[in-house]
């Protein structure tokens, strides 16, 4: 095993060429390596609109997110909550895709003691995995429960709006995967983008507006009774991640092998280091 892990001279050369190539490529990225002022003048604020009438609950976004970001088994950056409402003659089934809201005033950012969570000028709330100490305070702070402890990287983790794709002009993986086009991603400050036009024309809602976090994921046709459904339903509470997968006879080492196998092969792992772009000490503070 040890022989395989050593780098040969040819490998080193290839690696060097790739590094140089990607560094020079980084100069031409649309938003990369620009100052906060320049980004502000460009007026970019990413957000998402989710049309719940178009969501059919196929979970393609969950799988796409898993493929793109190599989420460990049992943990989700986005998931689709599935709710049944009413009793027999009048029954309604609803799906609510949930993901990090990339709030305008994020409480996770404010409560992070080491400023590992920061907000970019274009609104993405991201985590610096090298700074994060894993105190888990952001996970209890988030009113939407969108954060989880990454079991192998040993830090907090959450949705990044696929920052590595967005910076190259692509849409997040879940948006591309959505077969009903329920998820619409775009620049909310650009009046011609589909997302901002929907927000301007339709009645939109956000989750938990009373928390004053100003979420930037908007919902069309949101049913608040369905969102709040599980509050009284503690039955599923006895299932932690581990228990669910123990019942499926998947053990801890298998899950870790799965993660290690896909590490470096997923879209998010292959791309450039996006956190180099901003000075966290200046951007991270509110």
């Amino acid at each position: 095993m040890a022989d395989n892990e050593k780098l040969s001279r040819r490998d080193m050369l290839t690696l060097g060429v790739i590094t140089l190539g990607s560094l020079s490529f980084a100069q031409f990225l649309p938003t990369a390596l620009e100052s906060k002022e320049a980004q502000k003048n460009k007026k970019i604020r990413y957000g998402m609109v989710i049309d719940l009438k178009k969501c059919i609950g196929c979970n393609a976004c969950v799988i796409a997110c898993k493929q793109e970001n190599n989420n460990p088994i049992g943990y989700y950056r986005t998931w689709v909550k599935d709710v049944e409402r009413g009793s027999y003659p009048q029954v309604k089934r609803g799906f609510i895709p949930l993901l990090c809201n990339h709030c305008e005033s994020p409480i996770c950012n404010r409560n992070c003691p080491v400023k590992a969570t920061y907000q970019r000028p274009d609104g993405l709330v991201l985590i610096d995995y090298d700074r994060c100490i894993g105190c888990k305070y952001c996970m209890v702070s988030c009113p939407y429960n969108m954060r989880f402890p990454h079991p192998y990287r040993r830090t907090a983790d959450k949705c990044t709006f696929c920052v590595h794709r967005v910076d190259r002009g692509l849409k997040p993986a879940c948006v591309d995967a959505c077969i009903g086009k329920a998820r619409i991603f775009g620049n909310l400050l650009d009046p011609t983008s589909e997302a901002s036009q929907l927000i301007a024309r339709q009645p939109v809602h956000v989750l938990k507006p009373e928390q004053n976090t100003k979420p930037r994921v908007f919902f069309l046709n949101l049913d608040y009774i369905m969102v709040e459904a599980n509050k009284n339903d503690f039955e599923y509470m006895k299932y932690s991640h581990r228990k669910v997968f123990q019942e499926m006879n998947i053990n801890e080492s298998q899950m870790k092998d799965n993660y290690q196998f896909l590490k470096g092969k997923c879209g998010a792992d292959r791309t450039y280091n996006y956190k180099l772009k901003v000075n966290i000490d200046k951007v991270g503070a509110l």
């Binding site: 709710v83 409560n111 003691p113 305070y137 702070s141 991640h241």
Partner: protein, 308 residues
Amino acid sequence: MEEVCRVIYNAPHEIYLATPIAIYFFLTGISAASFIISTLAYVFGIKRFKAAGKIGAVIAPLVLIIGPLFLIYDLLRPVRFYHLMYMFNYHSPVSWGSVLLTIYPINCLFYLYYIWKEDYPKIRFFGYLGIPLAIAVHGYTGFILALAKGIALWNTPLMPIYFLVSAMVSGTALLIILSIFKETFLKTNTMITRFFPPVEKEVIWELGRLLAVFIALDFLVAFSDIVLLYYTTPENSIVAKVMIKGPFRNMFLVMEIGLGMVLPFIVLLIPKLNKSYPVLVTIAVLVLIGIWAMRYVTVVAGQYVPLM
């Protein structure tokens, strides 16, 4: 139309902060309270508390050096705990804690050192400095919970006060146990008696009365907290039901309220019982268990209700 909703699928939900955090809250509470009781004698000049205050002055730094170890153990990356020291975010109560947990034990050690040397002006200086620090070092833990605004049980302005009052309860109880232990078993040990003068009977009885006062205050705060939770927003009433009827019923109603507050308070009012050492020790142990239950229930039951 009746609203019957059933969750068919949702992402599994975990409880992130659990026992180590509760232990840490319990220990800082004891430390802050013992320090404040010791300042009764050495700063405010109530001479009869001197012997008991000396025990308090020893407990305060001792417990506070153990406490943060639980915090570091609870980190996902314990090796990176030093990030807290230089990557400071003044918005975050955890960052306030990293400053307070550095300054307060040092202050406690100076205070103890000058008590040993019997240098009264310097004891008073570090005592006056230590009182706000002791309140802050435990009060900030209340802010940690209160500023996690998504969680209904925590997000209340009562939380820092609830923590401070229950800290005084646990600190007084521990002081009673240690004083009685010293008076019963270590009376002839010269190593101990050289530094610790004997604690008089009357002082222990007075600590018992002080305990009754703190328990009454604690009950008031706990009662107003749970009543306001029960009758307000849906989130609040659900978490109150989890505590009163749900899986935390035994810990909250029996251990915290029943055995930790009501029973000790009644016993402390009975004239003959509140002067017998075995009864006082039993009560103090019950009170400590009750405060431990309070810490645990507050930390865990708050996260028990799923947010999404």
